[in-house]
Symmetry: C2
Subunit: 261 residues, 2 copies
């Protein structure tokens, strides 16, 4: 299993506090020692930092923590390998172009019979079930919508129907973003929290770190964090149900299906 | 104009010395202040560091210099914007998947009438002539070779014929790699050097830095560096002719066409 971390915000926000908690689980407080990655959007562009080394020991993870990059959409992942060896090409998140946009994806879980999925144009580069499932999602999207449709809610509904199919093949918790929207699909393990004024203090579960968000925000800031397990011990996180999905835009929840039909 | 830097080596080699020289040209000894990027291959995976900030002032460039990443294939670029604004999505190198491989590309020059190029499946994400030309190259490759052919020399010959067409639209100096091969195509400005035993000292042109390669190498190491302008002042670089292309594999020159037919 792996752990996912995502963020959606209405102002460029650094994810250092949450990422500090997550990297502890990569070989320190958790067993996810087979690599980590994080993708930050900046306009239509995005930048990824990845390392097949455990995040708790990674020089690049330290660099990311010491140089806070502010973003409105972030997808991150720490890995405990099941399918596919420990290597850079098997390290999440994966980013591919669709409709002239960077789409970024990370998966937690394990699929069987995934080799049968037709990925069409999108060839996997690594050997993971995760990347192959991502290629399949993109191929289905491309076939269904040769052009980007005007209504993105329709698109995320369609993606959810694809995720429902993947969930039949095993465990499929997913984060997906095109830089504007951040979608979370829950198979068995995903939590989220939206922070807004009045901001308070938060204490990490995995490290002796407390942050007072009031000193780091303005009253209009809205920031949602999605994570496999709650990252803080003194806040109330929403637990997602099996088959539930959420879509966030600029920090706000804009779509929510609690249960697959 | 921009500056290109590429490396091909038979053992994982750090590019810190050459990159130290290049980043000086990004806003210090040169005018290329509109961003920079570098992509390192590691097996089938690759990692990119990019910043729309001038490289001479970039925190991320400092991180890359302080954390030497060893690789057998590297593509780097510093930018002086002509077409497309200064933003992350317009920052080279660009990486896209073809035949299940990461292909990485950087361009120096400027094209006219590039909007007419049919990029088919590959939609540009940013607004540069460079990325659009890359998408066109990939689309032509895909149409010509739906599967990866066994003879890569044939592929690079075909890519050169595409580059010949792009050169008709303006200035087209290019670096291109799939992680195994590094190709350099020269329109008007590109130099290369192969270093092998007996190794000597090299002195950067753009910074007061000298390196003794003999202390950093084994007798079997072969390392080729390609750059817009020679990076060192006491070595003999090969100047490429207009229409010439070179392909390097594990540091060795494996293809060379001196002039377009």
């Amino acid at each position: 299993m792996c752990e996912l971390l995502g963020m959606s915000a209405n102002v460029p926000t650094d994810i250092c506090f949450s990422f500090t908690g997550l990297v502890q689980r990569g070989g320190h407080t958790g067993p996810h020692k087979d690599g980590w990655g994080i993708t930050f959007y900046e306009g239509k562009g995005c930048r990824s930092f990845k390392d097949p080394a455990p995040s708790a020991e990674s020089e690049i993870a330290k660099m990311v923590l010491n140089y806070p990059i502010k973003s409105c959409a972030v997808v991150s992942h720490i890995r405990q390998a099941n399918r596919g060896g420990v290597s850079l090409e098997n390290t999440h998140p994966f980013t591919r172009e669709l409709w002239g946009e960077n789409w970024t994806y990370a998966h937690n879980g394990q699929l069987k019979d995934y080799e049968l999925l037709d990925t069409g144009f999108y060839h996997p580069i690594g050997q993971t079930d995760s990347e192959l499932a991502f290629c399949w999602i993109l191929e289905q999207l491309r076939q269904h919508y040769p052009q980007k449709p005007p209504q993105m809610q329709e698109v995320f509904g369609f993606i959810a129907s694809l995720a429902d199919q993947l969930r039949q093949l095993g465990v499929f918790n997913m984060l997906l973003s095109n830089g504007e929207y951040v979608m979370a699909y829950c198979s068995n393990n995903l939590h989220w929290i939206t922070r807004r004024a009045p901001f308070g203090q938060a204490r990490l579960q995995d490290a002796d770190v407390t942050v007072d968000f009031q000193t780091q925000t303005t009253p209009d800031d809205v920031v949602t964090v999605v994570a496999t397990q709650p990252l803080t011990s003194n806040e109330s996180w929403q637990r997602m149900a099996s088959g539930e999905y959420t879509v966030f835009y600029l920090g706000e929840l804009v779509m929510n299906r609690v249960q697959a039909s």
